[in-house]
């Protein structure tokens, strides 16, 4: 097949599938949360409530798209687009199966980190442009939180980079043929999981939204599809982080018997469910606790992990 056509098809699939899965995640999350809280969740619209997603989408598209008169209009409009763009850009480097990636860059991992660090702007600018106290507080919290968790997110991944010897994600997957990196890099995995939670603002770390204190934090003033874009962006982030955990620590597409893409999807789905379980189980920490954990526990641990990994790699080198 023509390589350009092939990469266009992959590009289309990479944009199309995560967007739809993200919408489906709304259903999955509500059903799973209900399961763990001894409820049923949405089960009326269609079989198992599957059409609930469709109903929600129709509803959100027909909501009034309201820009508050006191808001900073251009920034207010750009902010939700930024998160969609940055998260979707990150999908270009994810290796779904051997050869099935839009751009197999030699700095793939750094590209992912760069895009996730740009994602902060969406939240911060949304909070600022809304010109509301709650939104501003949410934006401030988001910038502080994501900045500090990004630091050791990058550092926690450097262990895998050391072991694989490359920033290219397909190389990292290939390097896990004999042993998943979760075994030598267990600490790195835990750190990345926590940092990923903080980056996607999922429940134990959803302080920028914090319904009980800040109404809805940075998106208090948003409505209609702009709000929907934040929502979809969050779910896209969850899928992305799950996919990255799969790629970096759990051997990506590798596994016996089944085709590679199935293994990838199964592993990713497992981590998505883990994310939802964390949301179901854990309460939100206080903001100063969050920051001091980040800087006083996570960062030293990440540095230690990097140091030990580096020493071991150096010692084991022939």
């Amino acid at each position: 097949m023509n390589p350009i056509v092939k990469s266009l098809i992959i590009l289309f699939l990479v944009i199309f599938i995560p967007l739809n899965v993200a919408a489906g995640l709304i259903w999955l999350e509500r059903r799973l949360l209900a399961l763990w809280q001894d409820r049923y969740g949405p089960n009326r619209v269609g079989p198992f409530g599957l059409l609930q997603v469709l109903a929600d989408m129709i509803k959100i598209f027909f909501k009034e798209d309201w820009i508050p008169p006191f808001a900073d209009k251009p920034v207010f409009v750009i902010a939700p687009a930024v998160i969609m763009v940055t998260v979707l850009m990150s999908y270009t480097v994810v290796p779904w199966a051997p050869g099935a990636t839009v751009a197999d860059m030699n700095i793939g991992l750094l590209f992912f980190l760069a895009m996730s660090s740009l994602g902060v702007y969406s939240i911060v600018l949304a909070g600022w442009a809304s010109a509301s106290k709650y939104s501003l507080l949410g934006g401030l919290r988001a910038s502080a939180q994501m900045l500090s968790y990004e630091v050791f997110m990058g550092l926690s991944l450097m262990g895998t980079v050391l072991l694989a010897g490359s920033f290219r994600l397909s190389d990292i997957v290939a390097a896990q043929r004999h042993m998943w990196f979760v075994i030598p890099q267990f600490l790195g995995f835990i750190l990345f999981l926590i940092a990923g939670l903080a980056e996607t603002r999922r429940l134990p770390f959803d302080l920028p939204e914090a319904e009980s204190e800040l109404v809805a934090g940075f998106h208090s003033e948003y409505s209609g599809m702009k709000f929907g874009m934040f929502f979809v962006g969050e779910y896209l982030g969850v899928i992305l982080i799950s996919a990255m955990i799969t790629v970096l620590f759990f051997g990506g597409w590798q596994g016996p018997w089944l085709p590679p893409i199935v293994w990838f999807v199964v592993k990713t789905l497992f981590f998505i469910c883990l994310f939802i379980l964390l949301r179901a189980a854990l309460p939100r920490p206080r903001f100063d606790q969050l920051m001091s954990w980040g800087w006083k526990i996570m960062l030293p641990l990440a540095l230690l992990n990097l140091l030990v990994t580096g020493a071991v790699v150096l010692a084991a080198r022939p």
């Binding site: 209900a34 399961l35 763990w36 809280q37 001894d38 409820r39 049923y40 379980l277 964390l278 179901a280 189980a281 854990l282």
Partner: protein, 171 residues
């Protein structure tokens, strides 16, 4: 750290427990007979209206959703000319039932009153009045009270002595 893992495990185990949800429209929950739901007006065992239009329910109502107008028939029996409850305001507190001296106004375990138009939530007397005595069978206010109405003179009520003729008490 360990407690977090234990929490996660415990929550995960909830996946295998019975779900508490009652699948409502197919599966009705049990409501006790004294549940405070839709308000009705009851009748005597004889079939007459119990309400004597004393306004106590309207006064007791904290959201002022009851309005009525008293009138009298030719026999001297009081009854409401109209009796209107605005259920879009009603909070189902049951104070009207407690205030009612004749057990006329009662709350029933029915709560499925949803309407598409708010105006339809205003119930008139015809909508409220039912044919039976409700929670108080056998009670008839006019038969135990000393008030004189058509067909019952003073002193003819239950447990009531005939009125004393003052003029006959002269020594």
């Amino acid at each position: 750290m360990l407690s977090i893992l234990r929490t996660l495990w415990n929550i995960f185990l909830h996946a295998f427990q019975r779900r508490e949800t009652v699948q409502y429209p197919e599966e009705k929950p049990y409501l006790p007979p004294r549940h405070k739901g839709r308000i009705i007006l009851t009748r005597d065992p004889d079939g007459g209206e119990r309400c004597v239009a004393c306004y106590l329910c309207a006064v007791a109502c904290p959201v002022a959703c009851i309005s009525l107008q008293a009138t009298e028939d030719e026999t001297g029996r009081r009854y409401p000319e109209f009796f209107r409850i605005n259920f879009s305001r009603c909070i189902f507190c049951g104070y009207c039932e407690e205030a009612c001296p004749t057990y006329a106004i009662q709350l029933t375990p029915d709560f499925e009153m949803a309407e598409y138009h708010r105006q339809n939530l205003v119930y008139e007397k015809e909508d409220l009045l039912m044919s039976g005595p409700g929670k108080r069978p056998g009670y008839n206010f006019w038969r135990v009270s000393g008030v004189k109405i058509g067909g019952k003179d003073k002193g003819e009520a239950e447990n009531e002595a005939p009125p004393v003729d003052l003029h006959s008490l002269l020594p």
